[in-house]
Point group: C2
Chain length 433, copies 2
């Protein structure tokens, strides 16, 4: 039988059990930090020469010049032409839906004018140049290219630079095709901390960017943390999670497969079902037992379910909502009769998948909303990746002569209250009637 823990909110020890289940600390150890800092220093000091060295060393290349590291745009188009038509069509549909949703997120500038003629507002502009990290090897996900690149392009970022390691020189055609369909401007075949450092500080051939987004291994994550401040970064994600809330009336096979769909990512992924119906929980457990042997990635799934999975029985649906809000999951499925009513009571979740027909996996690929979402309870304070992450705001203040008189008066009193008399006098100059 599959080994997934069953918890019950009525048990005295439930809260500590839940805390232990959710606990996740991502720590870069000293060795990783030292390696990353050395790589960053190398790139800052020697630029392209270091980039070529590191790439040859870590990715098993024989690049002679940095120019060899750039993948020309024609190569992306070639990849696009080579993939099967079914994949072309799927990429196009997905890109179209992601783009359409992203358009709704676009922030616009605004301003208003007060009675005395003073104008206040907010001017929105896109970032100038963005770097997109795409992992190579087994975790090379074309969907990730769409989800990171398209919002940047919708935001109006003029130059989007993708980096993707190509261990042994091997290119992933579907990733290149996704870059083509997303409008990526330039691609470099570099990865690891050296790619992050090159994007942050620039080299002779890699232009410095203003923000770096995209997933990566522990070296990439550590490098992103290290260059934060020099450039912006997106979130540093923990393992993927799904929380399924069910009223006990969805086909249990469907729910078991939804739990698998997170668990198959990796052994640390977290799949949890919360439900007030004990007999339904037993049915889902039975579906898990039945379906697991049929899964291609059954070993990863079994480990993830055993180590980090849970089926949680609650007293009622109200308590189920409470548990969901406490967990603040990355992905929340509301597989219930009236999901819209329930969604209004959800305070913390990266994405909410409503109703029995909305498999979380649809959101991973093509529903439209981004699949880059806050993990490890950070949905309490953060949001999905979106167009807004590639835009920024500047406040606008244009005082009229009359407005300056009023504002100078207030500013002067408060500035003097804080002992900042240059502030006060600077305002007072403008406030003279």
């Amino acid at each position: 039988m599959t080994d997934i823990r069953i918890l019950n909110t009525a048990d005295e020890g439930f809260q500590p059990q839940l805390d232990a289940l959710l606990a996740w600390e991502s720590v870069s150890d000293k060795a990783v930090n030292d390696t990353v800092n050395n790589i960053i220093d190398g790139i800052r000091g020697r630029g392209d020469a270091a980039l070529v060295d590191f790439t040859n060393r870590f990715d098993g290349w024989q690049a002679e010049r940095a120019a060899d590291l750039e993948i020309p745009r024609e190569r992306l188009e070639q990849a696009w032409k080579q993939i099967p038509q079914s994949q072309q069509q799927a990429l196009q549909v997905a890109a179209g839906r992601v783009r359409a949703y992203a358009e709704h997120q676009k922030m616009e500038s605004w301003s208003y004018t007060e009675a005395d003629g003073t104008l206040l507002g907010q001017q929105v502009s896109s970032l100038d140049r963005v770097g997109l990290y795409v992992p190579g090897g087994k975790a090379a996900y074309p969907s990730s290219v769409l989800m990171n690149a398209i919002p940047a392009k919708v935001a109006g970022v003029p130059e989007l630079i993708m980096v993707v390691p190509t261990p042994g020189g091997e290119l992933n055609e579907l990733v290149l095709a996704a870059a083509h369909v997303s409008g990526v401007d330039r691609v470099f075949a570099v990865g690891g901390a050296q790619a992050v450092a090159a994007l942050a500080f620039g080299t002779e051939s890699v232009p410095p960017v203003d923000k770096i987004v995209g997933p990566g291994n522990i070296y990439v994550a550590t490098a992103k943390r290290a260059v934060f401040g020099q450039v912006g970064i997106d979130m540093v994600a923990g393992p993927s999670e799904i929380l399924v809330v069910c009223d006990g009336k969805t086909d249990p096979d469907w729910i078991a497969m939804d739990l698998f769909s997170q668990a198959e990512h990796d052994e640390d992924a977290q799949s949890i079902l919360v439900c007030p119906d004990a007999s339904y929980i037993a049915q889902v457990a039975a579906s898990i037992d039945k379906l697991l042997p049929t899964m291609e990635r059954r070993e990863i799934i079994a480990t993830a379910l055993r180590v980090r999975g849970a089926l949680i029985q609650t007293r009622d649906m109200d308590e189920t909502v409470e548990v969901a809000n406490f967990i603040a999951p990355e992905h929340l499925e509301l597989s219930v009769e009236d999901p819209e009513a329930m969604a209004k009571r959800i305070r913390h979740a990266g994405a909410i998948f409503m109703g029995r027909y909305t498999a979380e996996a649809m959101g991973d690929y093509c529903a439209g909303p981004n699949h880059v979402l806050p993990t490890s309870r950070t949905a309490r304070f953060s949001s999905p990746l979106g167009v807004y992450d590639f835009q920024k705001r500047s406040s606008l203040i244009f005082a009229s002569a009359a407005g300056a008189v009023t504002m100078a008066e207030t500013a002067s009193v408060l500035a003097r209250g804080e002992g900042l008399t240059a502030h006060a006098r600077s305002a007072e100059y403008r406030g003279k009637k």
Copy 2:
């Protein structure tokens, strides 16, 4: 004569000079990191007992119990009643203007329904609980309370917890009055890394928050970085900066005073004028010489101008705009004839102060937009503090039966392309016609 460097874009060495002028790296050394980590471990392990110990040790208190550390709300009201009427009025005007502007920033939920009945959207909610750090001692700024607290309250944060160290037990009445007028819910008289740790992890008396905002010294900044992930944090700010762009037609005394108003913050503050008119630059230099001896904080101002200030002569206004965009300043004054036209060409700035009447100091206190702004060129990728920092988004996806068929098709192809068959099958279950 005041010792402020004069640069010229026409000089061959200009760009390296500018790079050196702007260079700023904030580094927490090992001793600070170790101290902060010990304090955090203490709070996590011993809660209130550690909080009382640290506060007694670092702030010269004799608190016996953690309950002694809370400042009751009545005390805030009492502070409000004690301050002069002019200050009451100034705080009220400022709070009203900050609130009115903040209301314009509030994000609302949205959704749309596709032809096949699938609903997509974004649900916006406020954070549940926010911590606001307010420095004690010489840098205790009531304006900072308004700027951090009011957007949180406009966002709808139900519980706003302020911490403010009170060295020797001394309370700043204006800070407490500002907390009163901003609607702060609870105040604890604690500070330093121990206050940050208490807010991040909670103690028996301090409730854990979801995000910590507000300025602080190197220990506070280091602690905020350390707890990031456990909670959200706002930016970690560098020294304050002003960039004045002038066409040479504003009273040079006004511009000199604007440069002073940043420089008086501290010795690291940066004040720069960019202007194509050499004779005007000389006039501003003369105004600096004339006015500096009259300033209360002249020593700080003189040091800041000497170490980090500059008057930069450009070839023309076009190049002036280019320099401004490169610098991406926290505060940008456009003291020119047609500031609205010029503002449209500004791509990077925290706040833009337009026209000759808009002293930057007005924005610090009462114009309305936030005075917490991106520093050290981070305006290239980040925004002023705003209501949106106290809200977050959850994606909404509600597939109709028909929509599920279409989405399952696309998701299945892409999931199988990535080798994720549980994803594919989970979608396919819903896609059966």
